[in-house]
């Protein structure tokens, strides 16, 4: 086992899931939230020539997805180091 103790392993996985949950919320909010469910409401606002809801559906959600994955990779890297289970030998 890579961990010092059973507790460590459990704590690692709990934090791991917490990061994933938080990021999944953002993933859901920008696409299904802003891009679909709230689209009509957001369309009352504008971003240049874009109606805001439309912008989220065709541009904003995609940019957010890209950022999300890099944030995920960084956060997980930090977590792995904290528990000494990083894959850098």
């Amino acid at each position: 086992m890579a961990f010092q103790s059973e507790q460590h392993a459990k704590a690692y996985w709990r934090e791991h899931l917490r990061i994933m949950f938080a990021l999944s919320l953002v993933w859901f909010a920008v696409s299904f939230g802003c891009g679909i469910v709230l689209v009509d409401w957001l369309n009352a606002f504008r971003l240049g020539g874009y109606k805001l809801g439309f912008w989220f559906a065709q541009q904003g959600s995609i940019y957010t997805f890209v950022i999300l994955i890099f944030v995920y990779a960084r956060q997980m890297g930090k977590l792995d180091r904290k528990y000494g289970v990083h894959d850098d030998e």
Partner: protein
């Protein structure tokens, strides 16, 4: 006599093919590890680029922008669905499967669910979704050849098969990876250059993503406002708010495409090629960067091309284009059948309208939006030639990735895993090459004789990947409790429900007469269209798998240790040791 454009197109396409073959000769595979996962040493950025080419198919390159041009806001389901899936892939599957460190997706399912049956079920799911997907690519190759190089569809298809044969059979994943990187460069250049020119023409802003939100050059009107106005004048729905059926349907469609994307085996196996778990995470991010370049440009192309098209069709005085004065691209695409005009009121002018009684543009194929885009915008010939090479690159790169997924499932999962476990590595390498050659021949055959159901197949591939492969993989990683019985029952139920729903509305194997419920919104479950049903299938899979697992024995201790093991990045070298 060949026209200048045609000669240029031959030259550009020929040069790109020479490049792919050159790479193939340089990147030959010597071991099964090189053949299946390119030796596991691909840099995350390089893998990201290869994944982007692997992922973006003829449909993304040629059809998507056109689809969105006619669907307006409703087309967002493709944009969000086909990119959001990478977030799922990055967070829920790729890093853990990389840690597992084997060659194929069914191999993971077989070991995690300690069952040969589960592995075979996974192979069947994989082959169905990859084969249906590859037919579309082969057709894309044939169509691109016949439209741009004016050679026979069949000859185009043979040429495409020949190229894929050289680099996929020789190089396996290694050859495919490096050609995909080259193909990405070709296709992204070919897609963005016309978009930049068009954005510059229309709005004065060279960045299409910004151009779509800008004012039209020389006026204070925003491009999208103008577009909304003129499509409504013609009787179409407002571009920026035109939803795809209902909110629930858009929700389900987007979710199905996301889950399906994350569950497509040919994309997943690309993440087996990077050295470490942390690389798999980063690599998914890079893949999405490279994909996002095209996916954020596409909606700009859609809006602008729709505007340009309507502008042209309305003619200089706004009273309809005089048919005799139609531009060259109009004539050219009329001969291919993608554009069709019928002068219903015999006034020699084109009347374009949403009203089928009055509309005289009887056919405006969605593909025209990307294919004719450079000509509509009067871009130089080399740009048009580039679009041909780009379309071919998109189709070939995806075809190769799919063929590898099929070949490795046959040689590694079926042959080595089930029927002949005793074969040596040399024999397996040979077998995988033979499997690849057979897969290419089979895909080519299906491209030449597309079965009736070919049109609906790409949507089916997503539905199947979403309802079978993704849930099985995810539960395998995040639940220790889901067992062999649960996983098999879940996969079968998920696929069963999805297939049943698609077939009942679209006909068994897509033969229309056999549909026992017409495909119309009144007959749809909660108004969800068949293409959007994968998400429901996935839900069924999860529920059935958990329920069945609850009432059957829990997985053996060794499997629980395996699950613990893949959740932690450290120690990936040991896992990769075969």
């Amino acid at each position: 006599m060949m026209s200048e454009l045609q000669a240029l197109t031959y030259w550009v396409v020929g040069a790109s093919f020479a490049l792919y073959i050159g790479i193939a000769l340089w990147a030959r595979a010597g071991t099964t590890q090189e053949f299946y996962v390119a030796g596991g040493g691909v840099h995350p950025i390089a893998n990201g680029m290869a994944t982007a080419a692997d992922w973006m198919s003829a449909a993304s390159f040629i059809s998507m922008a056109g689809l969105i041009a006619f669907m307006g806001y409703g087309g967002s389901v493709f944009l969000m669905g086909w990119t959001g899936g990478f977030v799922l892939l990055a967070m829920f599957l790729a890093p853990y499967l990389r840690k597992f460190g084997k060659f194929t997706v069914p191999e993971f399912i077989g070991e995690r669910y300690y069952s040969r049956t589960a592995r075979i079920v996974a192979v069947v799911c994989l082959i169905i979704c990859s084969v249906t997907y590859v037919i579309g690519q082969m057709k894309g190759v044939g169509v691109a050849f016949s439209r741009f190089l004016e050679v026979d569809y069949d000859i185009g298809l043979y040429a495409g098969m020949g190229i894929v044969f050289v680099y996929a059979v020789l190089g396996g994943m290694k050859g495919i990876t490096y050609t995909q990187i080259a193909q990405y460069c070709v296709l992204i250049f070919a897609f963005t250059v016309p978009a930049v020119f068009i954005s510059l023409n229309l709005t004065g802003n060279p960045i299409p993503q910004l151009g779509l939100g800008s004012t039209l050059a020389g006026s204070n009107t925003y491009l999208l406002d103008k577009l909304d106005l003129i499509v409504q004048d013609l009787g179409f729905a407002e571009y920026t708010t035109q939803a795809r059926l209902s909110t629930l349907n858009m929700f389900a469609y987007t979710l199905s495409l996301m889950i399906g994307t994350a569950g497509l085996p040919h994309v997943i196996i690309r993440f087996f090629t990077v050295p470490k778990v942390s690389d798999a995470r980063k690599s998914a991010g890079w893949a999405l960067v490279f994909i996002a370049i095209l996916y954020t440009t596409a909606p700009a192309v859609s809006g602008m091309a729709r505007l340009n098209l309507i502008d042209t069709l309305q003619g200089k005085d706004g009273g309809g284009l005089v048919y005799e004065e139609r531009p060259g691209w109009f004539k050219k695409w009329e001969t291919t059948g993608l554009l069709e005009f019928s002068d219903k009121n015999d006034d020699g002018r084109v009347h374009y309208s949403a009203d089928p009684e009055r509309n005289e543009m009887v056919k405006v194929d969605q593909d025209i939006m990307v294919l004719a885009n450079p000509e509509i915008a009067r871009l130089p010939n080399w740009v048009i030639a580039l679009v041909a090479a780009g379309g071919l690159a998109a189709a070939l790169s995806t075809a190769a990735g799919l063929l590898l997924a099929i070949a490795s499932a046959i040689s590694h999962d079926l042959l080595k895993g089930v029927f002949a476990p005793g074969i040596s590595e040399k024999q397996e390498l040979l077998a995988s090459r033979v499997a690849m050659a057979v897969a290419i021949a089979f895909a080519g055959y299906l491209g030449l004789n597309p079965p009736d159901f070919a049109a609906g197949t790409v949507a089916l591939a997503f539905g199947l990947a979403a309802s079978s492969i993704f849930p099985a993989l995810m539960m395998g990683i995040f639940s220790r409790r889901v067992n062999k019985e649960g996983a098999i029952a879940g996969m079968v139920a998920g696929i069963g429900v999805t297939l049943f729903y698609v077939f009942q509305h679209k006909g068994i194997m897509f033969i229309a007469d056999t549909a026992f419920l017409g495909s119309m919104p009144e007959n749809w479950f909660l108004g969800i269209e068949p293409n959007a049903f994968g998400a429901v299938g996935a839900l069924v899979n999860f529920v059935v798998a958990f329920a069945v697992s609850r009432f059957t024995a829990e997985p053996p201790a060794s499997v629980q240790i395996l699950v613990e093991h893949i959740r932690v990045p450290k120690g990936v070298q040991a896992a990769a040791d075969h």
